[in-house]
């Protein structure tokens, strides 16, 4: 099958993850992966982002497929159950708003900037080497640390399920995928 330009978006995803090791402010670019799928589902009523443009999915597909880093076993039944998918989406939302709250606290001067990346919502990994100051408020850096934590955590989870199950197992419980599918369902009913 002929490759198209969007089949190479995994390069963007990989570059994003690497950039975060050098300059945390690059984490802001990740907002593209949040807004584009939502805009596509809201305007076109499709999961065009998942279907074509998701670089993260392509990266898992490549590592688990061509590089053979996946056992290629079936995902457990409970992981594809809608209650797990919706539950994970809600959990992700709550964690996301907590991250925004922490950003607000830094913006309002109540809390100091924490130069850490929180992995799996628990482990605080020192990340000060990737911060070289900002022209803007320290809060913009706090958001970057928080957002990169979200992106790295989901990558780690995605890699784990890629190894254990099928390459793109992350797609089954990806909160963005669940959310855009819900939007599409709501849109098709109207």
């Amino acid at each position: 099958m002929k490759k198209r330009w969007y089949d190479y978006l995994w390069i963007f995803s990989l570059t994003y993850l690497i950039l975060g090791f050098f300059n945390i402010l690059s984490a802001w670019l990740g907002l593209i992966c949040f807004f584009v799928p939502l805009i596509i589902s809201l305007t076109k009523g499709t999961k065009g982002y998942c279907n074509r443009y998701c670089g993260r999915g392509q990266l898992f597909g490549l590592l688990g497929g061509r590089f053979g880093l996946s056992r290629k076993k079936d995902i457990p039944g409970w992981m594809k159950h809608k209650w797990f998918r919706y539950g994970f989406l809600i959990f992700f939302f709550v964690m996301f708003f907590l991250m925004l709250w922490n950003t607000y606290l830094v913006f309002s001067g109540i809390q100091n900037l924490q130069q850490v990346v929180t992995l799996l919502w628990t482990f605080k990994v020192p990340w000060q080497w990737a911060y070289h100051g900002t022209l803007f408020h320290a809060g913009t850096a706090q958001f970057a640390f928080g957002f990169y934590s979200v992106m790295l955590t989901s990558t780690v989870l995605g890699l784990l399920t890629m190894i254990l199950f099928k390459p793109r197992s992350w797609c089954v419980y990806c909160p963005m995928g669940t959310m855009t599918q819900l939007i599409c369902k709501a849109k098709s009913q109207h």
Partner: protein, 69 residues
Amino acid sequence: MTSIQKKRKAFVEASYCVACGCCVKVCPLGAIQIIDGITAQVSMEKCVGCGKCAKECPASVIEIREAEA
């Protein structure tokens, strides 16, 4: 006289489909479409039951079974 011909086709368990589109990408005949971002749908005319989609599906919700043609 009518003879019932059975052919192998892909069937999607729509209630569990996440509409990720992995199956669409691997289908050599372009027989699968994602309908309205909700679920994958297999064209019974085009599908030859090769099973590539079933192997690829991250949720393993595609099954290859015999269908009456």
